[in-house]
Symmetry: C2
Subunit: 480 residues, 2 copies
């Protein structure tokens, strides 16, 4: 089939206005961080699952490769076409219906293109909670969250996207529709296809809808900000918080003082506790921790529990100073500090990002080791260390040394920085990609650090489900 | 390779005393409910992962099929050899080391042959909780729990076995060892092989070890027993309990009055509330619910929360009577009622068991429909309905009509009963196997009720990972 014939066929399936070939398609053809610019044959925007199936059948018949795309906010270049002009970008954003809300089952069934924040708000209107929450929530889609098994800030309590999903609807690389949307909490009838598709980054098929878990809204949510004397102390505080807040612990973020100092410098309107005002606190407390306590009872009860925890933490010595937000505004402001770190980093200049995980118990030794290696090998290096300590997930980022030219530093040192960080992660039994996935950006890291036996099984599964190799080639697994 | 040569080779790998060919091997060769009696070439009991790999390599070279086995307590005939005398039973019970306890990471890494109850006790000794709990816990193994994705009584809070696992060690059908035991809470580096092996019932490879989640022990645990006026009311109570106990809700079991009457009849030493004493309660309250509330604070607090919930439930009308256990002994006694139902059923005579799930919201309509169909089609049928309502999972069992010959009834009606129940389940979008798996017992049900598209993908995965077809053939997927 010629390209022209395929495009004509796609126009018949989804309607001519939804096959984009002209004009500025950069929103679809380049990745979120603008590292990779591709060129597609067309951007195709089906409006329902049957149309997705039709598009895939047509592409499979033509031997044309497909790059599925949601909000295109991924950080690992998993939804960008190559520059051949021969791949189809399959945008799922028009599949944005909420098919069913089942309050008694605590689930809703939503289409892949639904924006995460819209789903949070919808749950809220129903008096329920959809707990998935992450920086891109205003523009990312639930399909993308599922495709990458996104994490975020509430994983310590509610798990990753995988843990929030009870069922999927998927279009296979052959254009067949699998309806796995029963919404059951227990169903042991064969292999777990659901979890195989979740996190497969569109390489095994296309998620078109999902049944997701909802939760009762907490009666109250409180936020605390604590200065801790060491990373060991932060891990001890995590243990105390698990013990005394139980499942009430819904957030546990750590931030190094250098990361906080960038917020102070570039967002002077934000009041950051335990840094500027108490100028020497940085030495006494190299890290701060943000804790969130969700309570099914009342704000008063949440406050008592928090005070009890912090008393124990002071006695233990794992906290040297702490503040509990007195109002929702204060709580919002504290979270805003944490969420502003990436922007403050960007304001400061170029930097190298990592998204790594290590068992929480090994985080202190890992950080000590990695800090020492980087400082030794790269004089003047500045470490922006923050992240979801409750999940053992750090955004262990590296800022260009003060006064150095950013582009030159990245050109000369980015590969070395990555090598040093990932070798350290590997030595401590960690992962080079905790929540951002592999994409096309890290397939070499997968080859290097994933178990060869696991890789062999992954390739066998890819070949079994997508023997033509048309689904998002070069993502997760390197091109053969 | 001849059988003799293979046996000699196996003796060299695991030691002659661990290759069993003589004597009474029925503990290995028949299933738990003694429905199927097989005959193996040998029962092989390797002592470590390397020996498991050696055994599989030898069997693969000889083209001999392998039936992996843990405690052999499964209910779906998933670990029984056929009667050919040519299959190897690979018993994992000698792999019973606890490799590592990581209190700060809230995990332990344990070998497949560890008995579940031993792991619960070990966690307890560490001041932690391993929440997986089910009837066979005194003899089932964690490897079997993982292979079947076992459920149990705490799923409403902690999930199925799948949800408790952070990593696996697996020996592939080629005898390669995959070490996936990092114990990370976030790791998005390729396809989710862990969840593919969990629930695959030994048909894709052999789980030899796992890193499992641990939790803080609750400060207090309280149990309540409530009489409810209908199944709708039970579901309303579930919603209230989610809302007001939050993650404190760790158990929510429903029991029909006929199920309870069998306990009263056959276990007269047990005091069952809301049945015998108040003789008319059965009409007013056709079901009772057992609730468990785990509190991270104190017993006093747990009691206040429970009382608050029950007040609301009385006001709502979804509870007509309730008792909260005053002591651990009382709580134990209430649970003992629930746990005695299967034994009381056996005392009453032969019966037909089901392990089905439906979305909680649809349970009332499902039960009304299925009850009506069964009563219409099979005069005198007695329905023993109980189970994990918090997960939408009912053991919707059928007792032989009073006075009828059990064996004759099963011979004449078992297929019809199963047909009627599974058709009803299917009509309500449910699952014919919620927590017991498929085994060799229900492969025909899988063919009938699983999506053909899903089945095709499952077969492709099986062929990709086990092209020789030597791993537990005829389990999950019917023999080709």
């Amino acid at each position: 089939m010629t390209s022209t014939a395929l495009l004509e066929s796609l126009r018949q399936i989804v309607g001519a206005p939804h096959v984009l070939t002209d004009g500025d398609l950069s929103a679809y053809e380049q990745d979120w961080r603008k590292r990779v610019h591709g060129k597609s044959l067309a951007v195709v925007r089906p409006g329902n699952t049957a149309e997705v199936a039709g598009v895939i059948k047509a592409c499979a018949a033509a031997g044309v490769q497909i790059v599925p795309q949601g909000g295109n906010t991924g950080l690992s270049v998993g939804s960008t076409p190559d520059d051949s002009g021969r791949q189809i970008v399959l945008s799922l954003t028009r599949l944005n219906a909420v098919r069913h809300i089942d309050k008694d089952n605590l689930t809703f069934t939503v289409e892949a293109g639904c924006i995460l924040q819209n789903l949070q708000e919808l749950a809220d209107q129903q008096g329920l909670l959809f707990p998935l929450s992450l920086a891109a929530e205003g523009s990312c889609t639930i399909g993308g969250n599922l495709g990458t098994n996104a994490g975020g800030t509430q994983v310590v309590r509610y798990g990753n996207t995988r843990d929030l999903c009870l069922g999927l609807e998927v279009v296979t690389p052959q254009g067949e529709i699998w309806d796995g949307l029963k919404g059951l909490r227990k169903d042991n009838t064969g292999y777990d296809l659901r979890d195989l598709f979740i996190g497969s980054e569109g390489t095994l098929g296309i998620i078109t809808a999902a049944t997701m878990k909802l939760f009762p809204q907490p009666a109250a949510q409180l936020t605390a900000f604590a200065a801790v004397p060491s990373m060991e102390a932060a891990v001890r505080l995590l243990g105390l918080a698990h013990q005394h807040l139980g499942a009430g612990l819904t957030g546990f973020e750590v931030m190094g003082q250098f990361a906080l100092s960038l917020v102070v410098k570039h967002m002077p309107q934000l009041r950051v506790p335990f840094t500027e005002k108490e100028a020497d606190m940085g030495d006494e407390a190299p890290y701060c921790v943000l804790l969130e306590n969700s309570d099914s009872e009342s704000e008063q009860h949440a406050r008592l529990r928090f005070e009890h925890l912090l008393e124990l933490a002071f006695e233990d010595g794992c906290v040297v100073n702490a503040v509990v937000a007195e109002s929702l505004t204060q709580a919002h402001d504290l979270w805003h500090i944490r969420e502003s770190i990436p922007l403050a980093q960007a304001e400061e200049g170029l930097n190298i990002k990592h998204d790594i995980s290590v068992a929480a118990s090994r985080i202190p030794a890992f950080v000590e080791h990695a800090d020492a290696v980087l400082k030794r090998e790269i004089p003047g290096v500045r470490l922006v260390n923050f992240g979801h300590l409750g999940d053992g997930n750090l955004h262990y980022n590296v800022q260009v040394p003060e006064g150095e030219d950013g582009k030159a530093f990245l050109r000369d040192k980015e590969a070395l920085v990555n090598h040093l960080v990932y070798e350290a992660v590997d030595a401590f039994g960690g992962s080079f990609s905790a929540e951002h996935g592999v994409g096309a950006l890290k397939t070499d890291k997968l080859e290097k650090y994933q178990s060869p036996v696991a890789l062999q099984m992954m390739r066998a599964i890819k070949n079994a489900l997508d023997p033509q190799g048309i689904m998002n080639p070069g993502v997760v697994l390197a091109r053969g």
